[in-house]
Symmetry: D2
């Protein structure tokens, strides 16, 4: 049986199209900002303007980020433009706003209008689950770029956060010999428990030359001139750290080190999975609020 | 080349005998509290009293726990008795005291004498690395008690701390179908990332009947009458939680549920490894203090 | 719905008790040779003599081995004695006889009586599946005997047959560093594909000293004086090879090498699983014969 | 110290360029059929004609296949053309010829000239090791084509040969739920031992609809109209079987099933690894012949 709650999914890329589709199995879902050529689930009701809504929706879902210019909804799959404020005007005081990387302007608008705004990108479970498509995206890049199998090659991961843990599982599963560098003794212990070689980060410059593939997850300038110069000839460096990243790319180019900055992989390599993760996170948030 | 620092290893079980042996590769090590029939590394210098020390040692290592009665050193491998205070009198003001579960009385004595006391059981890396022998000890018990292979059976782990993570790796590696129950959404996400089925803890009573092996790591009364009654006939319950544990053992007996409380496994099933872990932790602490 | 076929399970250890229980879910099953204190499934009909059978059974299941003395049924769970010939007299010409390690005398009796005899121990799927409890039994022994965790230790497996493959999976899953020695280039390639270090067998004497645990699966005298002398002090040698085995145990004792000959592990460490495997193999044989 | 044996590597793609480079660490290696823009190891001596050889080489290495037209050497990295016969004229009666998929015409030429010809593609270790780059190539394609992560999806592999075993390891390592279909009971048992669900091949039509990814390794028409129609909407079918393959691609297109025939993956996705495998196989063959 369907819930009687209604959603408005406003804007976004393929991930949000899948979010709308998933939610539509359970709720009445309107979708704004998807041109006709975007394949939406049959149960989703596409609209061109909030005027087409029967009444205020219970939930509005904005994409990641909600806006690129602080004024309009981020709508890459539509040739139209819609203002954030116009969407919010469809809300009643009880409407809950979900957004990924909401941004200051949307936060301010919601605050002014007395609307509850929840940023799903700040949820732990979303960040954890997104580590898997990020790791697979990195593996796909490595497979495409390396003239060898991953199997049997030596790989170094810098940092021991979420992405690293997902990388460890996947790369070990493919038969790579994985080392991980970290700073804290507790992390170095975990790295061993996970079956990898633990490398204190201070040893990076002296050991980096042993690796065929290096994956950085630390958003700090670890890969400067001296480390880049120490890298093995023909090795590949993939930077997964969010801005400002951890690699001096200009220097890498100068030194002939193949370095790739791979950002926002979940939406690119696995939009369906990324949409599912967002959708499940929204479900958890609704359940926690006890509003069902 | 050997360091010129000296250690006094005072008391303890086989683990401490191995600690002494490991440290003796690098330092001058005296060992107090090991009868002649205990096999010590050739490089360790056994002594019967602190009077035999040439001078105050740089480090004194007490066992886990340091004392069972707040007065004497915990010396299960010796037929003699030595007071904590007598050992401390061999110290100079610069001597550093290491102990595992130091206890209030040793802490007070050190404080009075102005000695630095560090409890190695509170170190993150020791707790992490100890999760491995704990997991293997639990597996050994399960293998001994179950009339089936572990391979192919269904296992539930309650809690998602250090021991659980080590169990997940080892049990999945043996081909068990592993579920893990936890409370937080972030933990439930990690459980999936680690390839297991995530079970919200509130569902425990309704799902526990599906499992052949249940491993508890939560030190809270999860396995009360209602949960025990719901367990599968012939299944095995191993409680790895430190006191007060998580199982009503009286009730388990009454209901005919086979339940085992397995405590302090590292020292029992893998004393050499447990000794190495202590020794490496001591090394890390020395390195951090920059005293080398 | 139950089949109208009938089974007589005659003799055997706990495994056969479980075989009877499993088969009884689907067939009418009589069990001969289990004293009252043996817990049989409620659906199994215990009998004391073949006279109690209503008529000739469709299938008779003998244990492993069928007989220890070529005359009587192998009945370790009964204080009585029953002759093979007496059991066979309950058969009609259409009765099919299943046995594990049937032996020449049972084969001759069946031949004389014109009865079809199938040895389930010669079935590939039984041998394959039995490799798993054998591997777990070896792991249990290693855990009990070694003062270290298996995790992090170095292990050498000699031979690359069924048991080795099951060992590789389980030991790698527990975090051991596994090497496997074999003779053929194709096998050495597979060993690498399975993530292990491949060691040509001719290098055994020169490399054996590196390993903490050595598991032999080759029924040929590989571990003679010279190899035993080269083993690491304190290491453990487990011989899983069927007779004549692969270890000179007298010499091992003389040299102080801890060596254990572990035979028939499935029935000892996992009788329920071993029973299931026998039962499933019998099912496959029946299905292949198209007699259902 | 270098061996005094000489090699002529004649033609081939990047794999053979790497073969030449690897061999040149140990032997004197001449390479024919690589234009100037092909990066060869510094130790390799590029030649334009066999006349430039100092004398008959000890070994000649032809590529895979040796020839595409039964007359000329397969030389995709050269703008020139060289006849097989012209290369063979550089041989002495003691020269050994290595080729991958030698073909009848080369075999006949060698026979006439009394030259020993060994086809390295028929070596077990090469076929085994090639399964790894084949599996990784299939995974790369699946990652590129699927809008989901591989992690968490259901995969079916048909057939249980070398490639399947490499696929099982890699796909399980990435967190896929892997089923494998085979015909023989022994294989179905192994599939379970390797941690997968075993599906008798006769059940293919009824179960295929459950899978997101299907990988065929059987060179027989398994995926005909009826099976293709039963596939899950949006699923991906990758055919890894050599000619004639196992998929009716015309029908797949008609039914809207995304099907990809992926052949000769090792040379495409991992030429360096493929070259190493060829090189190691050649080394093994030389060692077996005792000619070193």
């Amino acid at each position: 049986m369907k819930s009687d709650k209604t959603f408005l999914v406003a804007g976004g890329d393929l991930r949000q199209a899948f979010v709308a589709g998933h939610l539509a199995r359970e709720y009445t879902v309107y979708a704004l900002g998807f041109d006709n050529d975007v394949e939406l689930d049959d149960r989703v009701i596409p609209i061109e303007s909030v005027c087409e809504l029967g009444g205020p929706p219970d939930y509005i879902v904005f994409p990641i980020p909600a806006s690129n210019d602080s004024e309009h909804v981020n709508m890459p799959l539509s040739h139209k433009h819609t203002r954030l404020q116009d969407v919010l005007e469809a809300a009643s005081p009880d409407t809950v706003i979900f957004a990924g990387k909401a941004g200051k302007s949307l936060a301010a608008m919601c605050h002014l209008q007395g609307l509850e705004l929840i940023d799903y990108m700040e949820r732990e479970e979303l960040a954890v689950l997104n580590a898997v498509p990020t790791a697979e995206g990195a593996i796909q890049i490595a497979m495409e770029e390396m003239p060898t199998t991953l199997y049997g090659q030596k790989c170094l991961i810098t940092g021991f956060g979420r992405i690293s843990k997902a990388l460890i599982r996947a790369l070990s599963g493919l038969g790579m010999e994985v080392s991980v560098s970290a700073r804290k003794y507790g992390d170095l212990a975990w790295i061993q428990v996970y079956g990898c070689k633990a490398v204190p980060i201070r040893e990076l410059p002296s050991v980096v030359g042993q690796y065929d593939l290096v994956l950085n997850t630390v958003p700090a300038m670890l890969f400067d001139r001296s480390v880049l110069r120490a890298m093995k000839k023909g090795s590949l460096l993939i930077d997964l750290a969010s801005k400002p990243g951890g690699v001096d790319f200009t220097m890498a180019k100068e030194l002939g080190v193949k370095a790739i900055w791979a950002l926002s992989l979940p939406g690119k390599v696995a939009p369906v999975t990324a949409g599912e993760i967002i959708c499940n996170t929204i479900r958890n948030m609704i359940q926690e609020r006890g509003s069902e």
